[in-house]
């Protein structure tokens, strides 16, 4: 069941591959080098996040090549819905981060992922004992999501010379129509989306992480990318 859902999500990936058609001029906001650098940073950051998770639970995370895309705020919600619909329910661990780079991270899992993750945290009988099943599975998702998001965003910020703080992670399991908060991005502004797919080899759980940062962060981000690249020049 899980695999079918995710394969459909991946099919959706091609639908909006070019969020900004040539001629709109918006691609010029970030150069190819800047996007490539950000993509490589996301690759490094998620690799560290996977290693951090493996230190806590015995799991191997299969990584994929991340992608970086720019969207007009008005396009963002429909873009994100390409990845989460048309499934009736999904689970999203959502965490906001604050620093020079500000935004939100969303870790998207199939709705039943919590149940598959629980055994990785210890003996199931003990974990479920005296607890509502839903609460235990929620904790497993929140813990997994919190580690992946915290380590990924933290490493990304470190590479960019920033330090971020976080809002507490929260779990949202919503229907397709209400998955993406409508106010996520100002319709008139530009959003940077960093997306990476992953799967847990042992548990057949697949999902993806995307970070959305707002137009206000772009100026700082471009400078930070230039500073990062400068250490490799000359």
């Amino acid at each position: 069941m899980t695999e079918v859902r995710i394969s459909q999500i991946r099919v959706g990936e091609t639908i909006l591959d070019q969020p900004f058609p040539a001629g709109e001029g918006t691609l010029a906001i970030m150069s190819e080098d800047e996007r490539d650098t950000l993509q490589e940073m996301m690759n490094i950051a998620f690799g560290r996040a996977a290693a951090s998770l493996a230190e806590v639970i015995s799991i191997f995370v299969c990584l994929s090549v991340p992608c970086v895309q720019l969207f007009k705020g008005a396009q963002l919600v429909s873009y994100l819905q390409q990845f989460v619909g048309p499934f009736p329910e999904i689970s999203i661990v959502e965490e906001s981060f604050y620093g020079k780079m500000e935004g939100s991270a969303f870790l998207v899992f199939p709705a039943d992922a919590g149940g598959q993750l629980v055994p990785l945290f210890g003996d199931e009988e003990t974990l479920y004992e005296g607890e509502a099943r839903e609460d235990v599975e929620r904790d497993a998702l929140l813990t997994t999501g919190g580690i992946l998001i915290g380590a990924c965003v933290g490493k990304l910020a470190e590479l960019l010379g920033d330090q971020v703080s976080y809002s507490p992670a929260k779990l949202v399991a919503r229907t397709q129509e209400k998955t993406i908060p409508a106010g996520l991005c100002d319709p008139g502004s530009i959003a940077i989306v960093l997306k990476t797919d992953f799967s847990f080899r042992e548990e057949s759980v697949q999902g993806f992480l995307f970070l959305v940062t707002s137009q206000q962060s772009i100026g700082w981000l471009k400078q930070a990318l230039a500073d990062f690249l400068a250490q490799y020049e000359g």
Binding site: E40, A51, A54, V65, L229
Partner: protein, 125 residues
């Protein structure tokens, strides 16, 4: 006895990542660089060029780094492959070591880590 490295094949799907790694090699040494953007290209270029050293990313399209490493080592058991990766999970590192990687260079590379890796390769010959 030490071996002096001259030809290097840098394998990474990210052009910026290849550029970053190249810039970490000592400037005073006259390295001859070749590049490949995925594992399959790497395998083809290895067979054609037989470089002294290969640096191999793991997460790549077309053919991943683990497969490329395996294929290269099958073609030439003496191939020297340094895995330069963001995937620093113990299981990944263990897997590439078993497949014959000479050593692992965690991303992002820097001049010191590259210099250290080069010394290890040259001293091992």
């Amino acid at each position: 006895m030490t071996k002096t490295l001259q030809t290097v094949l840098i394998v990474d799907d990210s052009p910026i990542s290849r550029k970053m790694l190249k810039s970490c090699f000592p400037k005073e040494r006259d390295f001859q660089f070749h590049e490949a953007g995925d594992g399959l290209q790497a395998l083809e270029k290895y067979k054609e060029l037989r470089p002294d050293l290969v640096t191999m990313d793991l997460t790549m399209p077309v053919m991943d780094g683990v497969t490329a490493l395996t294929e290269i080592k099958a073609f030439d058991p003496e191939a020297v492959v340094i895995v330069c990766t963001a995937d620093v999970q113990d299981k990944s590192l263990q897997e590439v070591t078993e497949k014959g990687a000479f050593l692992i260079l965690p991303k992002p590379p820097n001049k010191a880590s590259v210099q250290e890796a080069l010394c290890k390769v040259e001293e091992s010959a």
